[in-house]
Amino acid sequence: MEWETVIGLEVHVQLSTQSKLFSGSATRFGAEPNTQANIFDLALPGTLPVLNKDAVKMAVRFGLAIDAEIGRRSVFDRKNYFYPDLPKGYQVSQLDFPTVGKGELTFTMDDGTEKTVGITRAHMEEDAGKSLHEDFQGMTGIDLNRAGTPLLEIVSEPDLRSAKEAVAYLKKLHSIIRYLDISDAIMAQGSMRCDANVSIRPKGETEFGTRTEIKNINSFRFVERAINYEVQRQQDVIEDGGRIVQETRLYDADRDETRSMRSKEVANDYRYFPEPDLLPIVIDEDFIEAIRADLPELPDEKKQRFMAEFKLGEYDAGVLVSSRELAEYFEAVVKISGDAKLASNWVTGELQALLNKNNWEVSESPVQAERLGTLIARIKDETISGKIAKTVFEAMLDSEAGVDEIIEEKGLKQVTDTGAIESLVDDVIDNNPEQVQQFKEGKEQVLGYLVGQAMKLSQGKANPGQVNQLLREKMK
């Protein structure tokens, strides 16, 4: 039977505020345990929440970026469950009146097709602390630094149809969040986390199958692998005559499988009710418009502008705007080099390859925009050839020196002195009488070979245009 996969994602992002959602404790990552956990975060009796204005702003900022309805009046609710990393015994979240309502997100797949996915809602809530289960003589250690960090939970409609689509959606979401500068969104550090609701149904069926929820996926790569594993597992269960049980499963990256989380409680019963310690949040037009006026250029707009302003193809423009940092790097290179086409080729080619190989962020590149821009400028003014430029690029990895300095020091300057090139060309003609004869008989292709020989002789430093011209003249 042919199956269709149905996926919806719940993505949690930690908002990059300085202080917590409801208290003045710091939210810095990596602090010593419990040094950022104070009386409210520890749920000492009598303490009350006071809502962080920037967290609300960031949520609205996200809402506007995905064209969502902004909740003019949103309400916090208590979601009740007992777990020691949540000392109040409930998590403050939003149920019926979230700050961000329905919106949508459009992303491009690797093959160029576009897809639009509905976003059901994005609500604010507080993060929980961390439990450490090792080394405490049979007890569990609790670090509440993370407890109360503001989260935005972004819930998609079940509109995704493959693991690849899920990853493409998540990457686009990640890119927008980084453009908006509302979260570091680093999956490996947990500032962006993803749960996937996965089900399958016979192709053509309109009812959804029973879904499972996969938790603990902490990289883009694992999102794809975890979903693919789970889809295959569900197919095997059904084709063997079994039934899918609605449950939460954990992804184990080491074994590349999902496992049922054994749970004694039959079903979660969160007993939501409006949080009596907080009043409704009312957002007015001025508040929204001030945030709208402050929105940065987002990836889709930037892509259109790059295509129009720099005459780039859609694919290259898409790669360049995939991250804000890369787009800014590219624009800096264009400004210095004055050549958008070459800048695009170098940034999407050599630079991307370098970053991928070393798993670097743009900001970590030893070749900064300033140096790459100058390098391209030197290709344009014919100081060096494109081929030699790659040698200079390599040299920049081990050297902080400027481009001109490296060219000078390594003697890479292109030879444009006619006398020197003439002697090269003479050598080539003398050493390849057979090819010269063929050329004279009208075999044009041989010229390329002869130019190549001359370039080789010059160790890549001769100006290929000049070599070409001189060869033609001398073989007339």
Binding site: Q18, G24, Q36, F82, D143
Partner: protein
């Protein structure tokens, strides 16, 4: 609406309350009485009434995003029954 004894046991479990067998009948009756009152309130037509999120007719005030708390770990951990390496220790929560 009357509650069954099993439902009361489930609610007690969710609230982490321990009820003795002797208490359960009494609690069941009393909670059922509260629910009867709620049933009576449910019969009022509230179609035109906005749900109330809070009894005060006021709006949440927002605070500036500033760190105002400092590290008080040592003092706070004196309140805890047990702590080690800066962590609060609790009975093991996973099997």
């Amino acid at each position: 609406m009357a509650l069954s004894k099993a439902e009361v046991e489930q609610i007690a479990h969710l609230a982490r309350l321990q009820l003795s067998d002797a208490d359960i009948d009494d609690v069941t009756n009393r909670v059922s009485d509260i629910l009867k009152l709620i049933d009576q309130m449910q019969s009022v037509d509230t179609d035109d009434v906005e749900p109330l999120a809070h009894p005060h007719d006021a709006v949440q005030r927002l605070r500036a995003d500033e760190v105002t708390e400092t590290n008080n770990r040592d003092a706070l951990q004196e309140l805890a029954p047990e702590s080690q390496d800066g962590l609060y220790l609790v009975p093991k929560v996973i099997e």
